[in-house]
Symmetry: C2
Subunit: 386 residues, 2 copies
């Protein structure tokens, strides 16, 4: 069986966990938490970084920081993980779903302006597969309407956007007012479960620290700014154990090796796929975006074709998977959705396939997967009812 | 320096983390998560158990499960950690604070009935220092008024309540409709950060699993009950990495050794304190409660006395600490509180001292601490302005 994902260990994870454990400080905000946060701040020019237990937690912190309240509207792509929306629903927001682009599962930036109402408070962009949304456009719309932008960069570590406006490359997660990353075991850089909030807008820095520490001013206390700490705001226990941060640190030390390898896997898939372009739509990387080797996906002609393809691949011990179900049609939100059809998001829900993708996937396996796909697609092509 | 706390490792933590890491499944709900949950369910006759990233997370799950909404009232002791209240405030609840007992920092069960209004939805009891609240009384009041009871059992692992009504001993966490535990590094059984929700009322079981898994029916999907999973409810990423569960498992295997040792430390303190009872009020364990050796605390005659005592102990390299600041007077809630004074909670805020308490605290150190306290208390006693 070729699995869909296989967490990659750099070799130093246990060493740093051991160090954290026997240093006697394994709760949150310890030595490795600070090391990881500093790494991100300096490498990608992020604002203040705070590790969290998950990307979901980071998005929830964003919703609290933006003071989202009942009745507020938040614009979010429909083709995304539930947490992008849930985090804002938990604060009472109405979600206004944005369709995907025709050429990419990411949100269609040209639709955003038409979704804005006087109640709109924020735009959440999701850099699907680590490929940048057109952030110049998003930030311009946000500025015009005085809205906040949250980058859901769960899949977008070490990926970049070329800003024409500023004539320079910017790391994803450094552009919006806030950004959220994931270190779930399915991501490029992992810690089992784990995430991070990036606070690029300094007005949110102080409060973010409080919300992170369960609504207390404990961080100020430890810096000696106040003589005791207490309950000063809402908040939660968003910070992960330093054991998790120690694991993450071993990954970050090897970020470049991991990234090079993953991008080469992606390129390998892409090259071999050139013979299959009549059957499948290949991913498109706009010229303003980089490729961070997070996932390799393609689209099938129909849902029946796609489901048959996945089934047949599984029978050949290749674990390929579909992805999100468009959220406006979900059991939870379909009655709350405003009724607009979102044809592109629906199409990606029904036709997208993600292939096995992990550090240790070698060229022989990739060839084997491509061979299998070629054979299946020929058969499916011949079957008239697809 | 004798620290206030020192996390204790049983020796197998790294072994199990290694096993989890190299099994290739380190996100949530893995092998060790299931092992830990089963352990609790079978050892303490708990209902369904779900590990969480923190006790705070477990309390937030409880608030969501009880469907707490804006305007609902929740009765919570004032002398507790901010998360006991925050979790319900996040869902819009008004907190009605209950005073401590005269003889114990736990909530005064005799006051609860007077705090109930038509808007009251739940009572949160906190088993302070692992010492049971009078649960027969609490459950009776709750039943009379059709209220839910959440046990904040953060400090109460392996502690018990003797129910006169049922004529048997019950584990704390097994009595309320829901209960929350903590495995923070300061607790008896630890995993750095970590917690657990116990669902004793079966009506909440199915929804708890959904909320735990980010509002999706992923658990049903993996059991083959549905053919794909989607967004069916609100929720969050409450489940911890299996790395954290692996650590916890090593602790649980040694639970009895840890508990015996901690209780002997407590007894040692208590015995040696008999010479100091004219200066200090010692902890009281009601006859219906057990002692789980979580902490050793005592009360001083005044806040000035207490602060001087802590300062002097620190100068002697003994790290004793105070505890909660009564929440009704907190910067966050003082304007929202209904104005009642809570004299006992205030008194414990001002006079309570917690002594160093950890597995590796030996008899020599305990004697040294008691000697220091004896000398300091004699000096403080002689100082007329206290």
């Amino acid at each position: 069986m070729i699995p869909f994902n296989k967490p990659y260990m750099t070799g130093k994870e246990m060493h740093y966990i051991y160090d954290a454990v026997y240093s006697g400080k394994i709760s949150g905000n310890g030595k490795y938490t600070v090391k990881c946060q500093n790494f991100f701040q300096s490498k990608y020019s992020f604002g203040r970084c705070l590790l969290t237990s998950s990307c979901t937690d980071a998005l929830e912190m964003a919703a609290i920081l933006l003071d989202i309240k009942a009745g507020d509207e938040v614009i979010i792509p429909a083709f995304t993980f539930v947490s992008s929306a849930n985090a804002f629903v938990l604060r009472g927001a109405k979600i206004v779903f944005c369709d995907s682009r025709k050429d990419h599962p990411g949100m269609d930036e040209d639709l955003i302006a038409s979704l804005i109402s006087p109640k709109t408070k924020a735009i959440v962009v999701v850099h699907y597969a680590g490929v940048a949304c057109n952030m110049d456009k998003v930030m311009e719309i946000a500025e015009q309407h005085a809205l906040y932008v949250v980058e859901d960069a769960a899949q977008a570590i070490d990926s970049f956007y070329y800003s024409k406006k500023d004539n320079r490359q910017k790391a994803l997660g450094s552009i919006g007012h806030l950004a959220a990353f994931s270190f779930h075991e399915t991501k490029n850089i992992i810690s089992g479960e784990g995430g991070m909030l990036v606070i690029n807008d300094v007005q949110f820095e102080k409060r973010a620290e409080i919300i992170w520490e369960k609504g207390t001013n404990r961080s100020s206390f430890y810096r000696g700014e106040v003589d005791k700490y207490g309950w000063v705001d809402i908040g939660s226990s968003f910070l992960p154990s330093d054991i998790i941060a120690a694991f993450l640190w071993a990954q970050l030390e090897n970020l470049e090796v991991i990234q090079q390898k993953r991008i080469s896997i992606w390129n390998n898939y892409y090259e071999k796929f050139q013979a299959l372009t009549t059957q499948f739509d290949l991913p498109i990387i706009p010229n303003y975006a980089s490729n961070n080797g997070h996932m390799f996906y393609f689209s099938c002609p129909s849902i029946v074709y796609r489901d048959e393809l996945l089934k047949t691949l599984k029978a050949k011990n290749i674990w390929a998977v579909f992805h999100y179900l468009s959220l406006e049609n979900s059991p939870y939100y379909s009655n709350l959705h405003d009724g607009r059809t979102l044809p592109n998001s629906k199409r990606y829900s029904e036709t997208l396939v993600r292939l096995p993708f992990f550090f240790e996937l070698d060229e022989a396996k990739i060839s084997h997967i491509i061979d299998a796909l070629t054979k299946i697609s020929l058969n499916l092509h011949d079957t008239s009812h697809y």
